[in-house]
């Protein structure tokens, strides 16, 4: 396909986005139903044009069209097909195009599935979405055109950064963008509500599915990025407090707070002003993340390209949207009517505590990321804010979150009974103590962090189940009734419990890995062996292999435990010939939830090779737990009341009839 088609489609997208900003907004102002309706059509057209533009770029990559500068800089004809496709977004221009495509898709989804939204709200939401699209399309067209040609076209491309030539690039950025950009919808809802000056529980019911969707994708995206870094970077770390990771963690914290405060707003008509602010913050932090990554203000492994003019442009976008929305918030928020009163010890109170701690954690990450920049700008001093700072501050804030998590769902709305909740958690607490004791026994002395942390993790997991058991009434009513109630419970209850259990699972993995991991760094010759974490590894052979665009030096290790042969691990050092850049292809063997991790170093003078081997107990639980969290979010999304959408007056009696079984109301 002709790259000019893609370029032209992009320009048309800009025109459509501009119309989408102006027409529905004008329609909402003047109450013109026809103009408001145009918004939906334009959203679909926008998705069509950006989709066409993106597809054109993908085709240029697949066909290795080296007349396109972007393809020359980031592709190579010998690259396997998968990486030619994923390479489309493995660079600045392409990734921004993907960003806008996701934005347009979300707008189209609102147009398609928002049939039961009030026309005015829908029009304003699409207008806000259109304005964000306009800004980013301008950015792409003026500073980052992916379709720029090069004359004469070179015979061969410069290949993609080897670290990015991995299946991870196919998964991580799209998921992350679905999360990041997904929060643009909740942002648009918040701004639309502020423009109208009215907001109610139904608003929260519309916003919650979007927030949940974005949150679930962001959770998966972060988790997949973490696993990718873990196996690709070759030194066994899974979280680096890299500025770009921080950039994704900030909206995650804000988004987590948002999905919780939206519950309060939906059920109790309270915390409105705060929920709107969170919706604005979650997307603002996404934009800030985009700015930090794309401007090159912070250097990190994720920054594909650095260019000051782009930084200034994104900064302008940032100032406009964050500043604009916060100004609107300051003007309009006092007009929003406060509802639902509650006591400090109550479900609402617990969710407020959750919001407070998550917001503080978000602030810790924000301050830690930006402080070095601010200080340097202020007095020229260069300092580093590294992992010790983040572990200490975020860790300190997350401990009470984990501890309070099982209590929250057991408290009643309005006014809860803390002692009663504690009583119902006795079983979970007992189990936690047993787990902690087992951990202490297994460890045999050493830091208290491990037994304590594992006990806490067990408390979170079992406490999450306690809510479901409690609400079904096991132990209080006949078992048959309890099972009937269990079936009648809304899916969001199961979703919430599942997500909470996922947090506990993830926490368990983090604590176990950090306290019990074993590391071995050794120089090994062929035939030699070494020991790590109770496993004996023998280097059987070192053999060179050739791939399509790289050369491997593969070390084949036999694993034995207590003399029993457990198969082999292959670990490679890979050299990409086009850029002459080496990567490590670590050999990983999963045993239950634990992993044996072998990474090959340099060949040593005098024969042999440097090897780093790690025994990482329960490490996979970190990602399994994250996936469980996202699944919990997805399960919540299938809840009946979200599927049927916001309640319409006519449907209410029917809903009551359905809920006639003796299920306690939420």
């Amino acid at each position: 396909m002709n790259p000019e088609i893609g370029h032209y489609a992009l320009v048309l997208s800009l025109a459509v986005a501009l119309l989408m900003t102006v027409i529905p907004f004008w329609g909402a102002r003047t109450g013109d139903a026809a103009l408001m309706k145009v918004g939906s059509t334009l959203a679909l057209v926008l998705a069509g044009f950006t989709g066409l533009s993106f597809a054109t770029l993908v085709v240029a990559y697949v066909q290795s069209d080296f007349s396109v500068l972007n393809v020359v800089e980031n592709s190579h004809s010998a690259k396997p097909l998968l990486y030619r496709i994923t390479g489309t977004w493995g660079n600045h221009e392409g990734s921004m195009l993907l960003w806008v495509l996701v934005l347009a898709i979300f707008a189209a989804l609102v147009a398609l599935f928002g049939a039961n939204l009030p026309a005015r709200l829908k029009a304003n939401v699409l207008a806000v979405q259109g304005s964000v699209a306009t800004a980013f399309l301008l950015f792409i067209l003026f500073t980052s055109n992916p379709f720029a040609r090069v004359i004469p076209p070179p015979a061969e491309g410069q290949d993609l950064n080897p670290i990015l030539q991995d299946i991870g690039l196919a998964i991580h950025p799209p998921l992350l963008y679905l999360g990041y950009v997904g929060f643009s919808i909740t942002f648009a809802f918040a701004v639309a509500a502020l423009i109208e000056g009215r907001i109610d529980a139904a608003w929260a019911r519309w916003v919650r599915p979007w927030a949940l969707t974005a949150w679930a994708f962001l959770t998966l995206g972060i988790a997949m990025g973490s696993y990718w870094a873990y196996y690709e970077l070759g030194w066994g770390g899974w979280w680096f407090w890299d500025p770009v990771e921080n950039a994704s963690l900030m909206p995650w914290f804000a988004g987590t707070a948002l999905i919780h405060s939206a519950v309060v707003m939906e059920k109790r008509d309270a915390l409105k002003v705060w929920t709107v602010l969170l919706a604005i913050l979650a997307f603002s932090l996404s934009l800030l993340g985009t700015f930090l990554v794309r401007s090159g203000v912070l250097t990190s492994v994720h920054t594909f390209a650095t260019d000051p003019s782009r930084g200034v442009f994104i900064l302008a976008i940032l100032v406009f949207f964050i500043g604009g929305s916060l100004t609107l918030y300051a003007l309009r928020a006092p007009m929003l009517r406060q509802g639902g009163i509650f006591a400090p010890v109550s479900r609402e109170g617990a969710l407020v505590l959750n919001n407070l701690l998550l917001t503080a954690a978000s602030a810790a990450v924000l301050v830690g990321t930006l402080y070095p920049l601010a200080l340097e700008a202020y007095n020229g001093a260069k300092i580093t804010v590294g992992p010790p700072y983040f572990n200490l501050t975020v860790g300190a804030l997350m401990l009470p979150v984990a501890f309070a998590m099982p209590f929250g769902p057991l408290l009643a709305w309005k006014r809860g009974d803390l002692a009663g909740a504690a009583q119902r958690l006795m079983a979970a607490f007992g189990a936690a103590i047993v787990i902690a004791a087992l951990a202490a026994y297994a460890q045999g002395g050493g830091p208290v962090l491990a037994p304590f942390g594992m006990g806490l993790a067990a408390f979170v997991v079992i406490g999450a189940l306690a809510e479901v058991i409690e609400r079904a009434g096991f132990g209080r009513v006949p078992r048959a009734t309890a099972f009937a109630r269990l079936r009648g419970l809304p899916r969001s209850v199961f979703g919430g419990a599942l997500a909470h259990a996922g947090v506990g699972v993830c926490l368990f993995g983090i604590i176990a890995e950090t306290s019990w991991n074993a590391e071995r760094i050794a120089g090994v010759k062929v035939g030699g062996s070494f020991e790590v974490g109770g496993y004996e590894l023998t280097l059987d052979r070192l053999e060179p292999r050739n791939g399509p665009n790289y050369r491997d030096l593969v070390g084949v290790f036999t694993v034995r435990r207590g003399g029993v042969d457990m198969g082999t691990i292959e670990s490679a050092k890979r050299l990409f010939t086009a850029r002459n850049m080496p990567t490590t292809e670590s050999g990983i063997r999963t045993m239950w939830f634990s992993q044996l991790y072998v990474s090959l170093g340099d060949e040593l003078p005098g024969g042999g090779v440097g090897v780093r081997a790690y025994w990482k107990p329960f490490v996979t639980l970190i990602w399994i737990g994250s996936v469980i969290m996202a699944l919990g979010g997805a399960l919540s999304l299938t809840d009946r009341r979200l599927r049927v959408g916001a309640p319409k007056p006519a449907k209410k009696p029917k809903a009551k009839a359905d809920g006639a079984s003796p299920v306690p109301a939420e």
């Binding site: 030194w235 770390g237 680096f240 407090w241 890299d242 500025p243 250097t299 990190s300 492994v301 406060q338 009163i341 509650f342 006591a343 400090p344 407070l356 917001t359 503080a360 954690a361 602030a363 810790a364 301050v367 830690g368 402080y371 200080l375 001093a381 260069k382 300092i383 580093t384 804010v385 590294g386 992992p387 010790p388 700072y389 501050t393 975020v394 804030l397 009643a412 709305w413 309005k414 006014r415 009434g473 209080r476 009513v477 590391e519 760094i521 050794a522 120089g523 090994v524 010759k525 035939g527 030699g528 062996s529 070494f530 040593l604 003078p605 005098g606 440097g610 003796p662 306690p664 109301a665």
Partner: protein, 170 residues
Amino acid sequence: MRAVLVYLLLAFALVTPAAAVQPDEVLPDAAQEARARELSKELRCMVCQNQSIDDSDAPLARDLRLLVRERIQDGDSDREVMDYLVARYGEFVLLRPTWHGANAILWLAPFAVLVAGGIGLFLAYRRRATPHGLRAATATEPLTPDEEARLRAALGDPAPSDSPADVTKV
């Protein structure tokens, strides 16, 4: 010189009992080596992107690791090693920011957010809880048996509910 020795050792032993980032960097004294590892995790590889010298493959990181080990072998305390590196490379080298000066802002900011949020909530709660709002809404004394019977009669529900908790939860 020491590197040569280590290398010679390596050449004879098939496997080195090493616990350092590169097998040839290890100190013979296990306690000193452990100290060196701990210090390395707190030091930034200045040419890298956000990595500690313990994690980095960069030549500069290796130089720093060797330097740390050299100082430790010369009898420096952990503190002296860090001070030496800060004197040479500035605070940029520290992954854990110091406490003095403006850095207190950095360390206290998250907790300031927490405290400010807590105070704000408390004030908002106080304001709303006063004259009629909350007290009226939540002052639900448990019903007397007599009241409960009347309530049931009024609701037309003769059977006692299985748990009073359900009533209050609704």
